[in-house]
């Protein structure tokens, strides 16, 4: 068994001294969220799969386990992580995937990180070890604290173990390519999503729409004939580059905005190139934008804008500000889990 006691003691000491801690495993998402503040709390050593039950669709692992290792273990059983979290050159860990809540190309077709989290073990800001959720697919006992951890960017506690629901790998996969301008691509993605097609990813950039179909062979074949387009060979690498944000679009961007919108939203006016995923509900904008105007527009459309990656971030933080009512709920919840405010201060919002 892994000895968590030194970690608990370190947290208790920091709490007693009100000394901020910065939780880090692979460090692959140091760029994401607000400023990095506090003494480094390395948790990457908390690694290893603790339960693998493919016939129960359940996998538990220590939070520092690399996502790439989980994918390897699951692949041996013909399974995978449905939400396709980025692996960031092998450095991304399970804990980081959960804390950041970043999902990959399958997000709107199969579900997000939070949809597959079944349970967590966590050490709170008092240094107490807690366990929420469980290791079974169906469990509605108690408040859903496990999912509350998803996207909390380490501000509520140190994840030590996570249990996920896994899914079978699709038996067949096929990628289609269409030449389309942005309005036409948005319209096509929307229309296709209202029909029972085995869509598993969509991506539009610079006049070209890629559509991935995954599922039973018959379903993929039928959808391929139905949709038309040109079959792309070896598309696996392309989807990996989308998932890992390694397309030239991403690597060339000095400043990158990530705008999440209801799927029926119009094209955004952008100064610079746009890349679209998730059936139209995720718009990546490359290059500097008028952040306030973009947030106002995203908010009016029912979405939000995140300054995903930038050489410097504004004092208001990278995330769309919360309403005052929501901010006060956030502060109260933060105080429940981390009463002394030691974990990842300012990483999610400057206020806590």
């Amino acid at each position: 068994m892994f000895d968590l006691q030194p970690l608990e003691e370190r947290i208790r000491t920091a709490a007693a001294a009100r000394r901020p801690l910065r939780i880090r495993a692979g460090g692959s998402k140091d760029f994401y969220g607000g400023p990095l503040a506090g003494e480094l709390l390395e948790v990457g050593a908390l690694s290893g799969v603790t339960l693998c039950e493919p016939t129960e669709l359940v996998l538990s692992a220590r939070a520092g386990t690399p996502v790439a290792e989980l994918e390897r273990v699951l692949a041996a059983h013909g399974q995978m992580l449905a939400f396709e979290p980025p692996q960031f050159a092998g450095r991304a860990t399970l804990g980081g995937a959960v804390a950041s809540g970043l999902s990959g190309p399958r997000r709107v077709y199969c579900g997000a990180v939070r949809d597959f989290v079944l349970g967590v073990e966590v050490i709170d800001g008092r240094g107490e070890r807690l366990s929420f959720g469980g290791k079974v697919i169906k469990n509605v006992a108690g408040f859903d604290v496990s999912r509350l951890m998803v996207g909390s960017l380490g501000t509520l506690g140190v994840l030590t173990e996570v249990t996920l629901k896994t899914v079978p790998r699709p038996r067949a996969e096929c990628t289609l390519r269409f030449e389309m301008d942005q309005p036409k691509a948005l319209e096509s993605m929307r229309l296709w999503a209202t029909r029972p097609l085995p869509l598993s990813a969509t991506e539009w950039e610079d006049g070209v729409l890629h559509v991935r179909l995954s599922g039973a062979e018959a379903a993929v074949r039928a959808a391929r004939q139905d949709l038309g387009g040109e079959i792309v060979d070896g598309a696996h690498n392309r989807w990996e580059s989308v998932r890992e944000q390694q397309l030239p679009f991403f690597t060339a961007a000095r400043e990158l905005w990530r705008v999440s919108l209801p799927v029926d939203s119009p094209p955004l006016p952008a100064a610079g190139p746009t890349l679209i995923e998730w059936g139209g509900s995720l718009r990546w904008l490359s290059g500097p934008q008028d952040g306030n105007a973009l947030r106002t527009l995203a908010g009016r459309l029912g979405g939000h804008a995140t300054l995903y990656r930038a050489p410097s971030k504004p004092p208001s933080g990278p995330f769309q500000p919360l309403s005052s009512a929501m901010l006060s709920v956030h502060k109260r919840l933060k105080a429940v889990f981390d009463p002394h405010g030691i974990f990842n201060r300012g990483r999610l919002y400057p206020d806590f």
Partner: protein
């Protein structure tokens, strides 16, 4: 003397929206967990969000507890009234605000029935996936409060996977907008926290759900087993083969015997277990998957596999499963439906242990099982006219739930904790976790006025029970209120 809150509510709400006479209150004395009955102080029937907020504000000022209620179909006593509490019925907030076929969303008020959402979306070939067995009657507000499931949730998810946004009125009467039609709303995932919170944190006033395209067709395999353990292994084999069935249900021999005369589905009466394994999708896809399912089920030792040839036959195969509860009603004056979840690999051991308990408690128990996701529904048959049987049924149920926890599962897969399983929460969670639940509750409801005494037990109560478990789990003062 009438409580002053009644008059204040009358002034704030339209005529006829506050009930307080005993004949008016009678229909509200329990939800579908009829073991617990209590007349509320009053029933408030607001018609819109502003009125809901007003009721909450008044109750907050007067420090009167509030219990939200949808259609009252909950099986865990989540909406069981209290004599000192206002029952806040959301029944009049029953409007479908809008369907956006291109965005694939429906915005509805909490009192809209689950099935009514799918009916309204049907013209667009869309539907709302979670289908609790009470879907004709149960409301979406209640589904959110309980995080309801259904027979299709292995493939399509629970309520938490299908709700995009909520409007929630706090106890102070403020309205929070939680989640969004856009993916991954910023900040903490309050949508997940509120879903399944059993009315302890706020009152849902509007729900935005995700709609999905209707599958073109569905077929089901009825597989017969002469041994329960074999049926359990067959389920594991289906999952291991990479199949995600649209539904995967198991019935044991006593259930088959009870439902067959009731529905005449053609179930073989000599079977130890029946599995219903459904595939949905495009016709060619379903055909391919059904063949695959059949070969896996036969390989696992099914003595017979019947594949539904048409929609009528598919519905007939399902009829027995869907009639399992009413059939028990014909078999026994009362039944008590439990809702534990377990790792599927422990199924045979758990069912064996339940059989042994039947002897010990002197009561019969039949089992239906959402086999795909490990959610067991033992139905304990009893007669409430025999006072001793109620206590025995409750103790039997409690022991099953504690067994589920010991086997690595949970005391509730989809019905919620409510009043019913509050004591078993002490078995599933330690004092640290329970303290966090109380603190979360406190963050939304400082005075503990929203649905008090449900879902999360006090540490004091658990400590008391902890001592009692040593002596065999019998409550010494069953007349004491549960906090």
């Amino acid at each position: 003397m009438r409580h002053p809150i009644i008059e204040r509510l009358r002034r704030a709400l339209p005529a006829g929206a506050v009930l307080s006479s005993s004949e008016e209150l009678k229909p509200y004395e329990c939800d579908a967990l009829t073991l617990y009955r209590q007349m509320p102080l009053a029933v408030a029937l607001p018609a819109d969000e502003a009125q809901v907020a007003a009721v909450l504000r008044l109750c907050h000022e007067a420090q009167v507890p509030v219990i939200a209620r949808g259609a009252g179909t909950g099986l865990s006593g989540g909406a069981t009234p209290r004599a000192d509490a206002v029952l806040l019925s959301l029944a009049r907030l029953s409007r479908i605000v809008g369907i956006e076929p291109l965005a694939r969303t429906a915005r509805v008020q909490p009192g809209v029935r689950n099935l009514a959402i799918s009916e309204a979306a049907a013209p667009y070939n869309l539907y709302y996936a979670p289908d609790p067995s009470s879907q004709i009657a149960c409301t979406i507000g209640g589904n959110v409060a309980e995080n309801s499931g259904g027979v299709h949730c292995l493939k399509y998810g629970l309520t938490v996977h299908n709700v995009l946004a909520l409007r929630v009125a706090t106890l102070e009467g403020e309205v929070l907008e939680i989640g969004s039609a856009a993916p991954d709303a910023p900040g903490y995932d309050l949508l997940a926290l509120l879903t399944g919170s059993e009315g302890l944190l706020g009152v849902v006033t509007e729900v935005t759900v995700r709609l999905i395209p209707k599958p073109q067709c569905a077929r089901v395999v009825l597989a017969v087993f002469d041994d329960l353990a074999k049926a359990g292994r067959a389920v594991a084999d289906v999952i291991a083969a990479g199949i995600t069935p649209a539904g995967l249900e198991m019935m044991d021999r006593p259930t088959i015997a009870a439902v067959e005369p009731f529905v005449r589905a053609g179930y073989p009466l000599d079977a130890e277990a029946i599995l219903l394994c459904e595939s949905d999708g495009a016709p060619a896809e379903v055909e391919e998957e059904i063949l695959h399912m059949e070969s896996v089920l036969r390989g696992a030792g099914a003595t017979e596999c019947r594949v539904s040839r048409d929609e009528a036959e598919r519905l007939r195969f399902w009829a027995g499963r869907k009639a399992a509860f009413p059939a028990m009603g014909a078999l026994s004056p009362d039944y008590y439906c439990m809702d534990g979840s377990i790792p599927r690999r422990r199924l045979a051991a758990v069912l064996q242990a339940i059989r042994e308990m039947e002897g010990r408690y002197g009561l019969r128990c039949t089992n239906v099982f959402h086999a795909g996701d490990g959610n067991l529904h033992p139905l304990i048959l009893f007669d409430s006219n025999i006072a001793d049987e109620v206590a025995r049924a409750e103790a039997f149920g409690a022991e099953i739930l504690e067994l589920c926890v010991r086997e690595g599962g949970s005391i509730t897969g989809e019905h919620g904790v409510g009043m019913e399983k509050i004591d078993q929460m002490c078995v599933q969670f330690g004092s640290g976790e329970l303290a966090v639940f109380h603190a979360v509750k406190h963050a939304f409801d400082e005075r503990g006025l929203l649905n008090p005494g449900k879902a999360v037990p006090t540490l004091h109560r658990c400590a008391e029970l902890g001592r009692l478990h040593v002596r065999g789990g019998q409550l010494p003062h069953p007349e004491l209120p549960r906090f």
